[in-house]
């Protein structure tokens, strides 16, 4: 079953003198439980594509349907709610809220969802334990290593029980050991919760773990390959 259906997606940036087609007519579908890497050289349009897919950047034209809903037809307020309930984000620079502890960062999104306190606390503990840092629940991000922060970010992305997780260069700031551990962790989450993961990456180690690799160049998909893992 297709979770995400993308049709003729175009993004044109109007700079003062020239129009830049960052994404140039992408049509692609993603199914439930995919573990996909979107790859391509710098400036190929990966991040722009992911941003439009995640409801962060409005396309110039085309459709992004998630669970049958064209997200770009939603009002700004409904789109924020849609992101909260359906999409998890893992960013390159972790982007945890520095004044909140690891536990509070994970709990934050459930608080926004209006989940009861007991449920929030239980799920936060469970998620942090499953990403291997249950003992750092009360630590603030500044006290955690890059790898630990990215684990918290993954737990945060999973906290709202989203349909899929978008990860933009999640391993770019991590050393080799932390990258391997993080990829193992995300693969395990993918298996355990059947959550769809879509990465934008340059990292060969991520590509090696991916079940599907979509290659973008000049805003277009030039290759779409599936692998058995």
């Amino acid at each position: 079953m297709n979770v995400i259906e993308i049709k003729d997606l175009v993004k044109i940036y109007n700079s003062s003198e020239v129009k830049v087609k960052a994404v140039n007519g992408i049509t692609v579908d993603f199914e439930e439980g995919e573990f996909t890497a979107v790859v391509g050289p710098s400036g190929s349009g990966k991040t722009t594509f992911l941003n439009m897919l995640g409801g962060l950047d409005r396309p110039t034209s085309g459709e992004v349907k998630i669970g049958g809903i064209n997200i770009w037809e939603l009002s700004s307020k409904k789109l924020i709610d849609f992101r909260m309930n359906n999409i998890g984000f893992v960013f390159q620079a972790y982007n945890l809220i520095p004044v909140l502890t690891a536990g509070e960062n994970v709990e934050f999104i459930m608080h926004l969802q209006g989940k009861p306190k007991k449920e929030r606390e239980l799920r936060t503990r469970e998620l942090l334990e499953s990403v291997g840092i249950g003992d750092r629940i009360k630590s603030r991000p500044a006290k955690l290593s890059g790898g630990q922060q990215q684990r918290v970010a993954v737990a945060r992305a999973l906290a709202s029980k989203p349909e899929f997780i978008l990860a933009d260069e999640p391993t770019a700031n991590l050393d080799s050991k932390a990258t391997t551990e993080l990829l193992e962790l995300m693969a395990e989450m993918n298996r355990k919760y059947n959550t769809t993961f879509i990465f934008a990456t340059h990292d060969q180690r991520v590509m090696d773990k991916a079940k599907r690799i979509i290659t973008i160049e000049d805003g277009k998909i030039i290759k779409d390959e599936e692998f058995d893992q």
Binding site: N51, G54, L56, D57, S76, K77, I80, D81, R83, M84, N85, F89, F91, A93, N95, I97, P98, V99, L100, F108, I109, H111, L112, Q113, R156, S160
Partner: protein, 405 residues
């Protein structure tokens, strides 16, 4: 509640910056409260001086007397007026006066003078008239002696124990004439008053002008000018034509103009201080927004509504302003209280000016609540206005730009 906790924690991310910004608000509020207290204290002293010197806080007279101050426009104090005054709890004391013009002659010198008939005790309760008696003695009830202002006495070459002939026109054109013994010499701070005032007991005065039971005005007091509006509202409503009531500021518009002119200077100074506070807070907010743009982007990206983000930023701004303002207020209360109890003594020309105005040469301070709450209210309003900026930023945040910041 979570939003408020988050705002509070955000405030202490960079403690020194918050302390410096709060410090600018603290010193701004402290200084404006101190300055306002000094201003209000000096105005209170001026007003107190003028009302206790002569006008009282309020006066009742006839509309005709207000237009034309002749003996024929005086009135008899009725029970209905007295009951209105007794019903008003703010009025602490009152005194009747009969005031008119007459010629004063001693031997071969004659001079026009203002004759004021007063109830010695009631008048003394309001104006402390007895303190201006520099020679001789003060009046007693039913006294047939008079008190003469010093320059008038010098001009007429009279002293305590001498006699003075007064003559003029009484009620309804009756001839007024009498011989009075000088019981005391008055020395007022104002040279104008020293040249023309003669005081006598009101019964003696009524008899002199053949105006039995008539008065020209009834002077009334309230505890201070902050209590005046309520009393005036009541009296203006109850005192009906042909009588009228006026307050000290209506009777002394030149003093009001002087206070207003001085206050305008104070307002300008305070406006500069508040501008410094405003830019201090605003600068910090601008820095805070620039530094946390990406974090704000992340919050909206993962599902926080922009309005909620605006609320967090609003509380951060509010906390910063109010913390400084509260600390400034708390510090200003004991400092101004010290000077309220121990006013600065003035020296030199400033002291001389005060003495000439009949005010003791001290810089007075006020502890009126307005001195303090106005500062808190002003900072609160400034903070609310500044807080609109981060709310605007939350609503106009471009997610992709913010996430790249």
């Amino acid at each position: 509640m979570k939003n408020i906790i988050l705002a509070w924690r955000n405030l202490w991310r960079k403690p020194w910056r918050t302390i410096i910004t709060g410090g600018s608000v603290f010193f701004g509020v402290l200084f404006t409260a101190f300055m306002t207290s000094m201003q209000y204290g000096s105005y209170d002293a001026m007003i107190d001086n003028i009302v206790k010197f002569y006008t009282g806080y309020m006066q009742i007279f006839t509309e005709d007397y207000h237009e034309n101050k002749t003996i024929n426009n005086t009135f008899e104090l009725t029970d209905s007026i007295m009951s209105i005054i007794h019903e008003e709890p703010e009025i602490t004391s009152y005194a009747p006066r009969l005031e008119y013009f007459a010629l004063a002659s001693s031997a071969d010198i004659t001079k026009g003078s203002i004759i004021i008939g007063v109830d010695p005790q009631m008048e003394n309760d309001i104006t402390s008239l007895s303190k201006w008696v520099k020679k001789g003695a003060y009046l007693v009830e039913g006294d047939d002696g008079i008190l003469v202002a010093k320059d008038l006495a010098t001009y007429l070459k009279i002293d305590v124990g001498d006699s003075l002939v007064l003559y003029g026109q009484g009620f309804h054109g009756v001839m007024a004439a009498g011989l009075y013994r000088v019981k005391g010499i008055l020395s007022f701070p104002s040279p104008e008053l020293n040249k023309q005032f003669i005081y006598m007991d009101i019964k003696t005065c009524q008899s002199f002008f053949s105006a039995d039971n008539r008065i020209s005005s009834l002077v009334m007091m309230v505890p201070d000018h902050y209590h005046l509006p309520k009393a005036m509202k009541h009296l203006k409503k109850e005192i009906k034509s042909p009588y009228m009531v006026m307050s000290w500021d209506e009777l002394q518009p030149e003093l009001v103009s002087m206070i207003e002119a001085d206050n305008a200077g104070g307002v300008f100074m305070k406006a500069i201080l508040y501008m410094i506070i405003t830019f201090g807070i605003f600068g910090t907010i601008l820095m805070m927004i620039a530094e946390r743009k990406r974090e704000m982007g992340v919050m909206v990206a993962i599902g926080m509504q922009r309005a909620k983000l605006g609320v967090i930023l609003f509380f951060e701004t509010l906390f910063m302003g109010l913390l400084g303002a509260l600390a400034g207020l708390l510090a200003s209360i004991p400092i101004t209280y010290y000077f309220y109890k121990n006013p600065f003594p003035l020296t030199g020309e400033a002291a001389k000016t005060f003495i000439d105005m009949g005010i003791e040469p001290y810089m007075y301070f006020s502890m009126h609540p307005q001195v303090f709450y106005i500062q808190a209210l002003t900072v609160f309003i400034i903070t609310i206005v500044i807080a609109l900026f981060p709310i605007y930023k939350a609503f106009t945040l471009e997610l992709t730009k913010a996430l790249r910041a």
